[in-house]
Amino acid sequence: MSGFWIMLTGALVASCCGILGCFLILRRMALVGDAISHSVLPGIVIAFLISGSRDSFFMLFGAAIIGFVTVFLIQMFQNSGVQSDASIGVVFTSLFAVGVLLVSLNAKHVDLDLDCVLYGEIAYVQWNQISVAGMEIGPKAVWLLGITLFIIVAIIALFYKQFKLCAFDPALAAAIGIPVALFHYVLMGLVSMATVSSFESVGAILVVGLLIVPPATAYLLTDRLGMMIVLSLIIGVISSVAGYYTAAALDASIAGCMVCVAGVLFLFAFLFSPTHGLVTRKLRQRTTATREAY
């Protein structure tokens, strides 16, 4: 049963990240997830200092607020003329530095296991069950991620056309009256939500990996956005299931193995994708060359 819950959690994270990652890759902001998952540290510490409890609800709340602050700051610096990659980098490193300082300032009465907060362990998912009226209805992480996934799917499905246009041609979108900035914030807010609700249970690295690698793989396999999202979902789910079994076989970190499987799948797509693969393109060039020669 534990295996089932772990794989389900992995698949839910993969689905949340897979959908959003496609838009991030198209907007060239792939590393935003990485930034958010690091910059939430001060939020967690402040929430802990204020509430005094290690209850994950408060931490999640603090993390979510700082996640939005991160997104807002990145956008603000970008608007004032800083390159997007540099503005991501400056914001998340500064916030992380604030977090480290807060931890070391309060080291005496803060008993925060940073590794555990920042790099949650997916293997412990099943131990944290929610019970309603004495009945265990499944791990908390599964419920949290399920709700997150539902919100993401609902918002993306409702405004699919707008998001699509903003991803490919923001200028045109602005010209025909779509509030581009608003949709940008909504997308970033969703990314922040997905990152925050996943990282506590599965660890930052899995979130960052699944946010980028499966969508990038899908990007190599298709030229249609709808298809790209579907493929990215499938690849993400395959990575989490196969990653779980690999980890069980190797007796290694589950999150690490899931990301590695996703990496292997990317490599396959990179080499053998029917349209964009390195090997397939070389082969096609050769056949055209020989045909030309005759």
Partner: protein
């Protein structure tokens, strides 16, 4: 605070942080201009499998082996990034993200392997990852000095080439430069700077040492030479002030303080940069508005209506 200048231990830390800030600031300029600011973050994460393999092969916790492992892993990572961007339509940011997460994932897998097998106590590994500037010794400072000299000399010798590939790599290719080799060389120099930086400030914060001084410097000048020097100065200054504050208080670590100093310099530059700064822009807008208003009043209706007639004609 005065003991900063008398305590030999603190002097080493001060020199070390300044040298580190100087070299990352200089090399960071090129990373920034090539829109690869986050390469520092990527390389710092990608170092993990290298460190793990170095530990598995050598069986000892030696900083020297760890650094070699980290540099080799970083170089492979840069090759991976260039390979992906050159041979597919994946953009550089996504390529960096892929390399970052897959390498780090692999590193975590190796780390659990080390924990589960009989390699013994691995607790020193994560110390390497989170960085400890306060425990810098004279040996570390000599390493940093060597690295700083290497980076500065390399940047000075290849300044023209790096300038060319930062602004117009197509033109560089047209002139017959091997752009791919130069790009790779630049990335390797960044790798060396990052790996040395990891030790002092840790995986996450080393990215800031590359980016923040360079972005700040960009606000003050339009000339690459000036920007590079300025960025180096900003980096060294952040290191120095960070060490100074950290020495004056009981428990504040140097790394985050240096990064926050750099951030403060950055915010100052964004606000007060001579031409791009927020204040300068506001003043310019204000004066333009007033000039425009004055012009409208002075020439009264005649000139403007004449202009209107001209336009309509």
């Amino acid at each position: 605070m005065l003991n900063l200048f008398t305590d030999p231990n603190l002097q080493w830390i001060l020199i070390g942080s300044m040298l580190l800030g100087l070299s990352t600031g200089i090399i960071g300029t090129f990373a920034y201009l090539r829109k690869q600011s986050l390469i520092g973050d990527t390389l710092a994460h990608a170092a993990l499998p290298g460190i793990c393999i170095a530990f598995m092969l050598s069986g000892v916790k030696s900083v020297g082996y760890f650094m070699i492992g980290a540099i080799v892993a970083g170089m492979i990572a840069t090759l991976g990034i260039s390979w992906i961007t050159r041979h597919s339509r994946i953009k550089p940011d996504a390529a960096m993200g892929i390399v970052l997460s897959v390498f780090f994932g692999l590193g975590i897998v190796l780390l659990t392997q080390i924990q589960h097998s009989s390699y013994g106590n691995q607790s020193g590994l994560d110390k390497f990852l989170f960085g400890q500037a306060a425990s810098m010794t004279s040996n570390d400072v000599y390493t940093m000095m060597g690295v700083a000299i290497l980076l500065i000399v390399a940047c000075a010798l290849l300044f023209k080439e790096f300038k060319l590939i930062s602004f117009d790599s197509g033109y560089a290719r047209g002139l017959g430069f091997s752009v791919a080799t130069l790009e790779q060389l630049l990335l390797w120099l960044v790798t060396i700077a990052v790996v040395v930086g990891i030790q002092a400030v840790g995986v996450v914060l080393v990215a800031a040492l590359l980016i923040t001084p360079a972005v700040s410097a960009r606000y003050w000048t339009d000339r690459l030479g000036v920007m590079t020097i300025l960025s180096g100065i900003f980096g060294a200054l952040s290191g120095a002030i960070g060490t100074w504050i950290s020495a004056g208080t009981a428990s504040l670590p140097t790394g985050p303080l240096s990064v926050l100093t750099a951030t403060a310099l950055f915010v100052g530059s964004v606000l007060f940069g001579p031409r791009r700064g927020v204040v300068a822009k506001l003043i310019r807008r204000y004066t333009a508005k007033r000039e425009w208003a004055a012009e409208g009043k002075g020439k009264a209706g005649a000139a403007s209506s004449a202009k209107e007639r001209e336009v309509s004609a």
